[in-house]
Each structure stands twice: as C-alpha cells, then as structure tokens.
Symmetry: C2
Subunit: 318 residues, 2 copies
C-alpha cells in the first residue's frame, strides 16, 4: 500500500479557503462534542530554535504535525517556520500521506480567525485592520474576504515595503497603508506581529471592535495592552495553551488577568454551547494559539482530494 | 533544498547492527551527559489503537518518530506497528529525511538490549534464552551475536512454528527449541512477549542471570514475577516511562515494587556514572521501554549514509 507524498506546490494547489473555513468549523464542533482527541503539544527546545509535535484525531482522520520555529533562518535564506504533516488512517495507523504543512498552517490560522470573526464580530463588519503585514497577514485577508463584504482593508506595519507587497498581492481588494491607530479603528482587527509587548493600546480600541490576536504563540509574546482584555469578551482556541503561550500568557503571569475571566472556547461558541456576540458595543477578542485539530482537519481535506489525482507515491512502510 | 525519502527497503539496506549498537551507546552517553533532549512521548489513544509522537534531539540530530500500535491489524494483512521518522536539522529545522521507522525501531530495540547485556551480563555469557520467538526476537539474536560469543540459543514460544521460523532465519547460529524453564536457565535471557502477567517465575531464574525485559511497553503489561525484581539489580532506560509502562509498571501499581528500588538508568551505566555488574551471582534486569533518542541516533546513522547515495528526493517544504 503506498503513501502519498504531497510537496508544497501540490498542497498549495489543493488548498481552498472556503473549504478550509468549513473544515475548521466542523473540527471545532467535533472536538467540543467529544469526537476529537488532542493531547498536549510536545515541545523540543534547542539552541537555535524549537520543534513542536502536534498530534490529533478527528472522525475519520488522525495525524501529527512536526513544525519548527528557527528565528535566525531568514539570514540563511530559509523560512523561520516549516511544517510537515503525517496523515494517518485512525483505523489501522497506516500513513496515508506525508505532506508539506507550512501552507496548511497559514491557511488554518487565517480560517480559524475568520471563523472567530463570524461568531464574534458585528455581522455588518466591513472594515478590516491589519496590525502587521508579514506572511501571516495574507491568509487573514483571504479568509475574511471569504466571509465578509469588505470595504477598506487598513494595513499597518513598521516596514512600509511589507504593506506595499500585500497591496500588490491582492489587486482585487481595496487595501491601504495606514497608521497603527487607523488600522485598530476597524470593525475587525487582526494582530499578526512577533511583538513581545503591547502594540495595541486600550485608548485605540473602539466599542464594538472584534480583535483576532494571532501573534502571541509562545511564552513572553504579547500584542495587546492587558487593559484591552479587561472587560472584553475573550474567546480562546484552547484555554491551557492560551494561558501558557497565547495572548493572555503575559498578563496571566503578571497577575493582571486570570484564565477564569475567559468567556469561552471557540469550540463552545461554534457548537452553540455559548452564544457569540450579544452586545453590538462589546469588545470581543479571539486569542489564537493554533491547535492540532485544525491541521488534521485540513490535512484530511487535502488528502481526500489528492487521493483521486495523480501524485507521487512511495511504499514508505512496506 | 530537497528532502530524502527513504522507504522500508532503503532503510533496511542501510541498517547494520554493529554501527547501530555503537550509535545507541553514544546516544545514551550523550543524553546522560546533558547533550540530548527528550520531552515526554505524546500519546493519541483511539478506538482501534494508539499513536505515539516521540521527539528527541542529540548533538547534530533532531527528529520525531510517529508510531502506531493497532492490535487488530494482522487480520487486515497489515503490521500491528508501523513507524515513520522525520529527521530534521537541529540548526535550521529543515526536514532532511523522511524514513520508514519500523525496522529502525526493531534494530534499536535489539541494539539497546545487547548494550545492556554488555554492561550487565557476565562477560563470559555464552547462552542466550529467548522467551518469545516473534518479530522482536530477531534483532535480539542479531545484536547479541554481535557482542557475545554465543554457543547455544534456546528459544521458547507458545507457537512452535515461530521457533522453527527463527531457526531457519539464522542458519549460521545454533538455535534450539526449548522449554520455558530451559530458555530462562541461560546466561542472558530476553523476554519478548505481549504478556499481561508473569511468564518468568522466580524459581526459574539462576543466580548470575541477566534478563532483558523487552515486552512490557504499556500499562498492564508484565513478563516477570515481581519477586524476580526484588533483590535484582534493575536498570531502566527511562525511569518515568518504566514506572508508567515498563516491566516494573504492574508491580509498582500493586505496591509490590517501588521506583526507588531501581539501581540506575542505562545511560548512567554506559557513561560510567554507575558501575555495571559487580557481583557474578547477582541477577540483573534491564527494563526496556524504548526511548526516542535511540530512534534519532539511528535515523542520523541512516541519513548520513543515504545522503551520499542516490535516493528519492522531493522539495517537500519548498
């Protein structure tokens, strides 16, 4: 029995944002309904970077993502983050496919944020603000454009060239370079920076705003002033991960915020166990750390299409 | 930059037991000297079986093994256990190779047991007893034949056909089918059964015997009568894993044995921090659960040879 080998190009060609959002939505619902399994990530911390092993299973799907973060890689002409997914048959353990997981990671992160916006942002939201215009901002745009009728997208970055690049990448959308304050005054704000201290200040955030806090994914990383969290409706993908390495990790460590103040998980909102936005004037925040069920859901989507096409196969395990 | 794809056949052709034993010995030394990193295994337990993600790093090497155990697979014509190793550059995180890990697992298990015998068995040991003649027994034979001048190998199995198969597989060695008692009366005894209750009884074990207890690798599995452990010099690969899922797990759970009674880790013995066998009449036991540093050490060995040969490559992560 052969194992499919799906390289970066093949995976990219198979990914579509609309099906990705649907698959992520179903994954959060299944997980919350007890139909998914996700043990804690396993961290391997080394001198130059770290690796994470992220296993998970959903109905009819199982797998592990092996992903690294090596901050000095760009100097060597390599991406900071690379990922591989082993996609396995949960019934037999057979490795059905080995695929690049780098674009899967980017797609599922954008899809999950847009999903959070679907339940937490005001339904009439039409301006999107980007705080940070690097790699991660692209799928935020694609995913939100899928679910919202976007008027203006206001993009802020310390590096103006990054904004110009985003503008060129989406000629069909109205993206403008803006100040930090302008970007944050949007209906939906996505923070996608590597910041280790508050970028978004309380005074900048208008009532009724929904913020997807994406950047903080490790201890010590933080994008929002802790006072933004206080009084806001905070939704997390996974409470344990968020408290350890998500947007709330620094304020929790400083005693400025308690995990008990979190309103709910995204899965609870998606599955209807908790209502999403109730008050048009509330500030809502989705604290995204990234969970392995998202990756396995997308890997399944990619595999189910790829198996009917012609791709490289190998008798990997005999 | 391409990633090497090494299928089962390629890996098998690259494995040699003598270099495997050397690599495993160095890995245990490095790990004990603080030059290795190994977070806990991550278990994904599903209805039909389970998966384990086993990450580790050693000097110049990093990786993860993704291995399943699906007991009903043989009915479907599939192996119970299949494994894949992603072998990565610790400096950049780049995936250097994806390889079958099934034979790596078998080789490193045999190699580690023979390594334990090297330090714990009497140096003049010349009889090897096998309790269980299934898949796992083959690399026990190969590895011990590498390090010891073996006279007779006494093989016991509930299924006589399994013993006949082993005898045929090693025409150059003197292997005989024996009773359980005869097999256990050897200088070195390897227990490689899926037993969930004592097979080897105290009364069978002679003074001076070394036992490699290989079979118990999950909660509830047990091959030796707890009284065999009492008074014996017990060495483990990893104390936490052994207490949770190794040979000592059942007696520990029953309060018949305490992890504090364990003499040392294999790494401490290999690196000279603790002496190996001191008394020719002592009964020594190596409780093997299998650790990821063994897999990464062998993956490195396989990769270092393969990269100079012609193998399939793919631009997996672009």
């Amino acid at each position: 029995m052969p194992t499919l080998i799906l390289d970066k190009k093949s995976v990219k060609a198979l990914l579509s944002m609309s099906t990705t959002i649907g698959a992520v939505e179903q994954a959060f619902r299944d997980w919350t309904d007890g139909k998914g399994t996700m043990p804690a990530k396993s961290y391997l911390s080394l001198e130059k970077g770290d690796f994470r092993a992220m296993p998970a299973a959903l109905p009819g799907a199982a797998g592990v993502k092996w992903v690294n973060v090596h901050p000095q890689n760009p100097k060597l002409g390599l991406p900071t983050v690379m990922a591989i997914i082993i996609y396995s048959d949960p019934e037999t353990g057979y490795p059905l496919a080995i695929m690049d997981g780098t674009d899967v990671t980017a797609f599922r992160t954008g899809a999950t944020a847009a999903l959070a916006s679907k339940y937490l942002a005001r339904p009439d939201s039409h301006t999107l603000g980007l705080v940070g215009a690097g790699r991660q901002s692209y799928t935020q745009i694609t995913a939100h454009a899928e679910l919202f009728k976007l008027g203006t997208i206001k993009a802020y970055d310390l590096n103006p060239a990054a904004v110009e690049k985003v503008i060129k990448a989406f000629p069909q959308l109205k993206i403008v370079r803006s100040s930090l304050e302008d970007a944050v005054s949007s209906d939906i704000v996505c923070t996608v920076t590597p910041a280790r201290g508050p970028v978004v200040k309380k005074a900048m955030v208008r009532p009724g705003t929904h913020i997807n806090a994406i950047g903080a994914d490790a201890e010590g990383k933080e994008e929002l002033e802790p006072s933004v969290l206080k009084g806001a409706v905070v939704v997390v993908d996974d409470l344990r991960q968020a408290a350890a390495s998500g947007e709330i990790n620094v304020p929790v460590a400083q005693g400025l915020y308690s995990p008990g103040e979190v309103y709910s998980t995204l899965g609870e909102v998606v599955s209807g166990k908790k209502p999403g936005r109730k008050d048009p004037n509330a500030i809502t925040i989705f604290d995204s750390t990234g969970v392995a069920i998202e990756d396995v859901a997308i890997a399944k989507l990619v595999y189910e299409q790829a198996k009917n096409e012609t791709h490289m196969t190998v008798d990997l395990v005999g």
